[in-house]
């Protein structure tokens, strides 16, 4: 590189550094909340560039199984990246370290750690897997050099996050992201290993399939399992926050959905085998090892995460239930549309479309069951409890918007064809076999969701119109009457000295109905009860 080039590079670096310092030295005018999201994102970009450039340089220095090299460009690009990004990263790092001591609850710090975890933990898992796969498996050659660089970056940030732990609402996010990376890779590896195991077993009685090389999956498991264990299984410092609960819900919902999908596929293929001329059984059921492995692993993922959600009807449990209800309803609309389209398109249910009919009908039945199971448990029994919660509102309103848009789009497509037929006379209307039922089913789903939402709103409004009232009950044994009044009621019980005035459950229902939402005095004795208005 010529002297002029070096000078130009130096000037650029100095210019960038000065500009960054000038920008970062400006303090806000009293409204500084210390979150520093932009500064932390710039830091993440600089650390990312410097980290990957360093890894590239390490690869150029210690290439794996290299036969032919063209390193001049690789080294130049890597060096330029390090020279520009590393000083910027250092300046931002020091600045933010000082700011963290001032604002320990900085949201930017948690965000920064999350970005670094997402990028470099993924890079570490991939490069670690590539290297190990080459070492023990049959992968193409891979270098150890970048594994060390990525491991160093991840470890350094882990130590720093222990020294100044992220605080605030998103403090669990970095660990949750690491858990997600570890879990996805672990699940992939275990599924691969189980598939190999089942395929080996399957190959003993059918020549159709043979076991895949398991060492690749083993390499992935060796890399991924410690990541998941370290990020997820080690004790957490506090009760679950939003991020961990969100991940519990996502992992549980995804686990059960994939398991159901694998079961439906297996059942569908079995029905197709018996209903059609599907050919040799060994070939037809060749999917079984993968499907069983996927289903088993998904059940495991679901069981582990669902058990951590608990049984109490928390927002996490609600989100899980409503998400599965939404999934069931969407799958029901899709499969019912497909089934109707097949019926309208073919004229009979036997023939080349049999597979489609079986798959659609089975999916529709299972989707109906899933939707009903999760919705019925979330509807009447829990309406009063859930009415104002975000998961229920997201389910009813969010899904209504989506279904409404789908229905409107399908109606538009139907009308386009209808108008073409009217105007041009001879137009192929075969698309209507899909669009027309889609319009109807998505429309019905929208109507149902909006109706439920209207019922929710009525409940909220009726609750809001009730003014607080007081009920004074004079009796000897009140039973459970206190719990039967509206939540806005304030109940006072005055116990009689004698044993007269016992409130039975039937009497309690009558009293509650008669009192309504008015302040009242209730007198109970051997003759029954009397109610007088109270002010």
């Amino acid at each position: 590189m010529s002297i002029v080039g070096v000078l130009a590079l130096g000037l650029i670096v100095v210019g960038v550094v000065l500009a960054v310092r000038r920008f970062t030295d400006r303090r806000a005018d009293g409204s500084d909340d210390g979150n520093d999201v932009i500064a932390y994102l710039l830091l993440a970009a600089a650390v990312g560039t410097a980290g990957f450039s360093l890894a590239s340089l390490a690869n150029a220095a210690f290439p794996a199984g290299t036969f032919v090299l063209d390193r001049s460009q690789q080294v130049s690009i890597a060096l330029a990246g390090v020279v520009v990004a590393a000083p910027i990263a250092a300046i931002f790092w020091r600045r933010q370290a000082e700011r963290r001591s001032q604002y320990p609850e900085s949201a930017g710090w948690a965000l920064y750690l999350t970005v670094i975890e997402a990028v470099f933990m993924t890079a570490l898992v991939i490069s670690g897997f590539n290297f190990l796969n080459w070492l023990i498996g049959d992968g193409s050659s891979a270098t150890w050099a970048n594994v060390l660089i990525y491991a160093g970056i991840v470890t350094y940030h882990e130590l720093e996050s222990r020294r100044t732990p992220p605080m605030g609402d998103s403090r669990e996010l970095p660990r949750v992201v690491g858990s997600a990376i570890g879990l996805i890779a672990t699940v992939t590896a275990v599924t691969g290993l189980l598939t190999w195991l089942f395929e080996t077993a399957y190959a003993t009685f059918t020549p159709r399939v043979g076991g895949e090389e398991p060492l690749t999956w083993l390499a992935l498991l060796i890399v991924a399992l410690p990541v998941w264990y370290r990020r997820w299984r080690l004790p957490w410092p506090a009760e679950p926050q939003f991020s961990r609960n969100a991940w519990l819900f996502v992992a549980s919902a995804a686990g059960i959905a994939i398991a159901i999908g694998a079961a439906v596929y297996t059942a569908g293929q079995t029905l197709i085998f018996f209903a059609t001329n599907a050919g040799e059984a060994g070939r037809h059921f060749g999917f079984l090892p993968a499907a069983v492995a996927m289903g088993a692993v998904s059940i495991g993922v679901w069981a582990h995460h669902r058990s951590q959600m608990g049984t109490e009807r928390s927002d996490t449990v609600r989100a899980y239930r409503y998400a599965l209800a939404a999934l069931g309803l969407a799958a029901l609309v899709g499969s019912a549309t497909a089934l109707t389209a097949l019926a309208l398109g073919s004229g009979d249910f036997v023939g080349t479309q049999t597979e489609g009919v079986i798959a659609s009908a089975l999916t529709a039945m299972v989707a109906l069951w899933v939707w009903w199971h999760f919705w019925s448990g979330s509807s009447e029994m829990a309406r009063e409890e859930d009415v104002a919660t975000t998961p229920r509102r997201m389910y009813l309103l969010g899904l209504a918007v989506v279904m409404g848009l789908i229905s409107a789009g399908a109606l538009t497509a139907v009308l386009v064809v209808l108008f073409q037929i009217i105007i041009e006379g001879n137009v192929d209307g075969s698309d209507m076999a899909i669009q027309a039922p889609l319009f109807v089913y998505a429309g019905i789903a929208t109507w149902h969701l909006l109706r439920e939402n209207a019922a929710d709103r009525a409940l909220v409004e009726s609750d809001e119109s009730i003014t607080p009232f007081t009920v004074t009950i004079v009796c000897s044994h009140p039973g459970t009457i206190s719990a039967m009044f509206h939540e806005r009621a304030q109940i006072h019980v005055i116990y009689r000295a004698d044993d007269a005035g016992r409130i039975t459950p039937e009497m309690a229902s009558e009293i509650v109905a008669e009192v309504g939402h008015r302040s009242s005095l209730v007198w109970v004795d051997d003759d029954g009860y009397r109610i007088a208005p109270a002010n």
Binding site: G65, F67, V68, R94, S140
Partner: protein, 149 residues
């Protein structure tokens, strides 16, 4: 630990690491196979292409087979993108040999965006004790070389 030392420890380590990696990267040469082996011939052929020495690279091709072509045909079909290569397995059978090579294009080393790779198999034949690259091989310009192909 002294605050000054602590403050400069990490930048110092990184700077030292960069210098060390740079020195190794610029001085380290890949293992050279013997020019009298099939691997050595393929290695020199690819290295010559990578270096832009197309005349040298063309000399490793079977002169009889490629007689209707020249180095400019090879140059014209070589991708502009820089590339490196790693050796796979090689098998010999008398005067024939197969050498498998993975050619990686591009210069980035980011596992989130891996370099594109091409898996190539080179057929070599031995004539008068010397190995020559035969058949249609990367970067695939044989179709321009007349009826031999």
């Amino acid at each position: 630990m002294n605050e000054g030392i602590r403050r400069w420890a990490l930048p110092g380590v990184i700077a030292g690491l960069v210098v060390a990696l740079l020195v190794v990267a610029l001085t380290r040469e890949p293992a050279q196979f013997d020019a009298g082996t099939p691997e050595g011939v393929v290695q020199r052929y690819l290295q010559a292409i990578s270096d832009g020495s197309f005349e040298t690279a063309f000399d490793y091709l079977d002169s009889e087979l490629y007689k209707d072509c020249d180095a400019t045909d090879l140059a014209r079909h070589t991708p502009v993108e820089p590339f490196g290569a790693t050796l796979g397995t090689s098998t010999w059978n008398g005067d024939n040999a197969f050498v498998e090579v993975t050619i990686q294009f591009g210069v980035t080393e980011n596992p989130l965006e891996p370099r594109s790779a091409s898996y190539e198999s080179f057929l070599l034949t031995r004539s008068d004790g010397a190995w020559m690259i035969s058949g249609k091989v990367w970067p695939y310009f044989a179709w321009e070389c007349g009826e031999n192909f």
